[in-house]
């Protein structure tokens, strides 16, 4: 029985040439991250102030090959190897790493969000009594995982990428070592995270057992259309539950609010935007590439997840008095809207993917912006309680206006970005007049109305209510935070007023499977 092993191992290894351009973003991030670590190790305290700047520079440099790959779109999708007739591609990892329009949009999203996160973190980290150079190196590691994730078309590389995203995040959630809340945030996140990984892996091992390959396209080929076996269903359910933890879908969301409140606020923004997006990318890769024939199993499960995620998230968010917790639960609800297109992906997987990606892009802009305002306000009020936002219009009119834009966008009120994201989701849901899609659209619409209540309640606090302590001195906004707010406001407004800018990118999105 072991004969095949011997022949496999003894086969000649022929290495096709590597497509360096295709993996340049990851290589730059890896090399840059290592360089930052070396610089930190050599000069220690003397370069402490430089580390955030260097890290953000690494993110921007890594963005260059993403843009050139996009501009040079003719060669897409590209793999890890340059395919040449003379050199047969025989690698085990053939087709596991694919660079296509979809992964490029996401890589751009991840790198830009990481850049904004560094802007948000700079003052927070240097003013608190924290280790700070390690923090940026860990962010770089986590973002590297996200870049790899968006190109992964293989169960193993998806798992490794997901852990590369998560493990640094466990550490960073517990970053405020002397604060019990932060310890608790880290511990809960870590325990739930590894639990989710174990469940995910078990599902993956079942999928591998059915298909005989870890490559997503092979799995799709191995499972026939309409074929249904309990093992397949079990594998799919376990895998989706594993991703459900990462994207904080109800009922697997319990870690999210505690972790979000206890973690350092810039990291909360990172978890709520980038880390969640990475979970969605993994989910899309597996569902769209590996399970196109299993819609009858996947769709109902995701349908239920999406419906209860948006409903429960919104209902609990209504009762919150702490803005960070409210944003956490609102993020849970938003994850429900993002799951919705995947509940009707059968036959329209391209449209469903581009709706989710559009939502991810716009959600990143508006949510990062909202967290930026929370961080700035906390510099004055030292609190994230809702009541402490009273009277903000009197001492920070510009900031109040920015926050209002983000809140309107989160609530989905035109003309700012969020409405376009929701519109795309509704368009996919109602396409094809399927009962399940329309029912989900109705649930989503009701939820949008509920959500508008608590979003607008925050705006009411800021515009009309007096400040709780009567202190109306102005807030000094550091330039880094100002830049972050400026960038996110611009992105939120542009994506709403000129939705073409986003949809020009996301309309091309289709997940290439690899050979």
């Amino acid at each position: 029985m072991s004969g095949t092993f011997v022949t496999l191992v003894a086969a000649e290894i022929e290495r096709p040439s590597i497509d360096w351009h295709a993996i340049a973003p990851e290589l730059i991030l890896l090399g840059g991250g290592a360089l930052v670590t070396v610089i930190d190790l050599i000069w220690l305290e003397r370069v402490r102030k430089l580390i955030p700047t260097l890290t953000s520079l690494v993110f921007l440099v890594a963005l260059i090959p993403v843009i050139t790959l996009w501009a040079d779109g003719s060669g897409l999708p590209r793999g890890l190897w340059i395919i040449d007739e003379n050199v047969p591609a025989t690698g085990v990892w053939e087709g596991a790493f694919v660079v296509d329009n979809y992964s490029l949009v996401l890589k751009g999203l991840f790198l830009l969000s990481a850049y904004v996160i560094v802007l948000l973190s700079t003052n927070y980290m240097s003013e608190g009594d924290y280790y700070d150079s390690e923090y940026y190196q860990l962010i770089a590691a986590s973002v590297l995982g996200m870049l790899v994730m968006s190109s992964s078309r293989d169960l193993i590389s998806i798992f490794v990428a997901l852990e590369l995203v998560s493990i640094p995040a466990y550490l960073m959630a517990a970053w405020r070592k002397r604060d019990l809340k932060s310890n608790e945030a880290g511990l809960k996140y870590m325990l739930m995270g590894v639990f989710a990984s174990a469940i995910l892996l078990y599902g993956m091992s079942l999928l591998y057992g059915i298909a005989g390959s870890t490559l997503l396209s092979d799995i799709a080929a191995a499972i026939d259309i309409g074929e249904s076996r309990p093992v397949i269903t079990l594998g799919i359910v376990f895998t989706i539950i594993g991703f459900g933890f990462k994207v904080s879908a109800v009922p697997f969301h319990t870690w999210a609010p505690d972790t979000y409140e206890g973690a350092p606020t810039p990291l909360t923004a990172f978890l709520a935007v980038a880390s969640k997006a990475a979970g969605f990318v993994a989910l899309i890769n597996v569902v769209i590439v590996a399970l196109p024939t299993q819609a009858n199993v996947v769709e109902p499960f995701i349908w239920v997840l999406a419906a209860i995620t948006m409903t429960v998230g919104n209902l609990i968010a209504l009762r919150q008095t702490n803005l960070v917790r409210m944003l956490a639960y609102s993020g849970v609800a938003q994850a429900g809207y993002m799951l919705a297109p995947l509940a009707v992906y059968d036959g329209i997987s391209d449209r469903a993917t581009s709706a989710v990606v559009t939502y991810l892009v716009i959600y990143a802009a508006m949510n990062l912006g909202a967290f930026a305002v929370v961080i700035i306000a906390a510099r004055k009020t030292r609190s994230a309680e809702l009541s402490s936002y009273g009277g903000m219009f009197n001492y920070a009119p510009g900031l109040t206006l920015a926050m209002t834009i983000f809140l309107f966008s989160l609530a989905g009120i035109p003309p700012v970005g969020g409405w376009w994201a929701k519109f795309e989701v509704f368009r996919v849901l109602t396409e094809g007049n399927r009962t399940s899609g329309i029912a989900l659209a109705v649930i989503a619409a009701v939820n949008s109305v509920i959500a508008a209540f608590y979003y607008l309640n925050i705006a009411k606090q800021m515009w009309f209510l007096p400040s709780p302590d009567g202190d109306n001195s102005r807030i000094a906004i550091p330039p880094a935070l100002l830049a972050a707010v400026g960038l996110t406001v611009a992105a939120t407004i542009v994506s709403g007023v000129l939705p073409g800018v986003v949809s020009d990118m996301t309309d091309f999105v289709n997940v290439a499977a690899g050979q």
């Binding site: 095949t4 220690l44 057992g209 249904s228 309990p230 093992v231 079990l234």
Partner: protein, 147 residues
């Protein structure tokens, strides 16, 4: 046994729990699969209940002061079981675990070094460099100092 044959066989082995009875005929395929998933979940819960339930039924429950004491090699324990202990070794153990397990990647590479050639060598040097960077980090930040 060929590969193809196995692909077909494994799931059949696993799927023997699938209800094939005619009684399930009116239920759609989709629902039937989820019934199996539900059965799996019920089995998991049943297992837990069995573990905990059976243990509590069969074990005699006559606690005395001596019995509930922690067993400490026959010596009467003093103080709380959760005493603070020195964690000097702990960090070294953690670092060891980290570097030790990377050998998993180095062994297969070493076994096939000749075939992988210079390219493989360069790759492994990069891999070990990144690992060494971690060690250098621990050293430079004073983690390796005996406290």
């Amino acid at each position: 046994m060929g590969v193809q044959q196995n692909v077909a066989q494994i799931p059949v082995d696993l799927g023997s729990a699938q209800p094939r009875a005619v009684a399930f005929a009116p239920v759609s395929d989709f629902l039937r699969e989820y019934i199996v998933v539900g059965l799996f979940g019920a089995l998991a819960f049943g297992l837990v209940a069995a573990f905990i339930g059976l243990a509590s039924i069969f074990r005699p429950d006559r606690p005395t002061a001596d019995k509930v004491e922690n067993y400490e090699s026959g010596v009467d324990p003093v103080g709380s079981g959760w005493s603070q202990s020195q964690i000097r070794y702990y960090i070294f153990a953690l670092l060891f675990v980290m570097f030790d397990v990377e050998a998993v990647f180095i062994f297969p590479w070493a076994a096939r070094l000749e075939d992988l050639g210079v390219f493989g060598l360069v790759e492994m040097v990069i891999f070990i460099f990144i690992l060494a960077l971690g060690l250098a980090y621990a050293w430079r930040k004073g983690v390796l100092r005996w406290v």
